[in-house]
Assembly symmetry: C2
């Protein structure tokens, strides 16, 4: 049983996510899916960016406080290709904005959550990011982001 299920540890809780920073969506074709988000839902794509170490091309939209990040794989062996192969196109991850990622990660790990990234690394839009493993977050690939800009 993960440690966080133990009510006694609640009092040690420090982490507070302030809002949903973005929702990552895996798509096969960035250009076609941008048209859907622009022409049907009425959002404006404000940035297209390649993140080489993730093997993706991304497109960003702002929807109120939250961004939508469309992800197209640039490599058939990349994580987004693998995801689409297994589950089809769709929502890939959920990202929460936090205030101090370097402090948050060891705290979360100490409560029994499996980290994909033990230390913050650089993500799209210059954010400092880290992923939690979906095995310990009830199936949701969860990203924590800190905006140091």
């Amino acid at each position: 049983m993960p440690k966080f299920l133990n009510r006694e540890i609640i009092s040690y809780l420090k982490m507070k996510a302030t809002h949903i920073e973005h929702i990552g969506i895996a798509v096969k074709n960035l250009e076609e899916s941008i048209k859907y988000y622009e022409n049907i839902l009425g959002f404006k794509c404000y940035s297209v960016e390649e993140v080489k170490d993730q093997k993706v091309k991304t497109a960003f939209f702002k929807v109120g406080q939250t961004k939508i990040e469309l992800l197209e794989s640039t490599d058939s062996e990349g994580p987004i290709s693998k995801f689409i192969e297994k589950k089809g196109e769709g929502i890939h991850h959920l990202a929460f904005a936090v205030e101090d990622l370097s402090e948050t990660l060891p705290e979360v790990e100490s409560k029994g959550i499996q980290l994909i990234d033990k230390a913050p690394r650089k993500g799209a839009e210059g954010l400092s990011i880290a992923f939690l493993h979906p095995k310990s977050t009830f199936g949701v690939l969860t990203e924590l982001c800190e905006d140091k800009n």
Copy 2:
């Protein structure tokens, strides 16, 4: 080719989603997953509600402008059970807040999007809701919500 890919129709666009109303997440066990969202991410569950015609029990959290809606099936033949069987626990749908759902639905349909609900119906928290089919929204089961309260 869906009609929305035709650039000529852009000028007819009326719909504008103002923000992400909620993110629906399919879970096997509502009680255990509530503990994760409360004790790790630091959110407070403010409501647990059963939606009988959807065969689910739901739990709500507020995260900035957006809600997280956890969904546990109350019936092994219900849509959430089927989803988990096929894809595992995880993000199930994405809901956008719109201003006039009755006007929006025929507009969206006229642009080639397949509707699951041809007319608004009542969802959790008393919202007026309708779903768009993931086949025409690049794999994302998409809900449109209007708050008439």
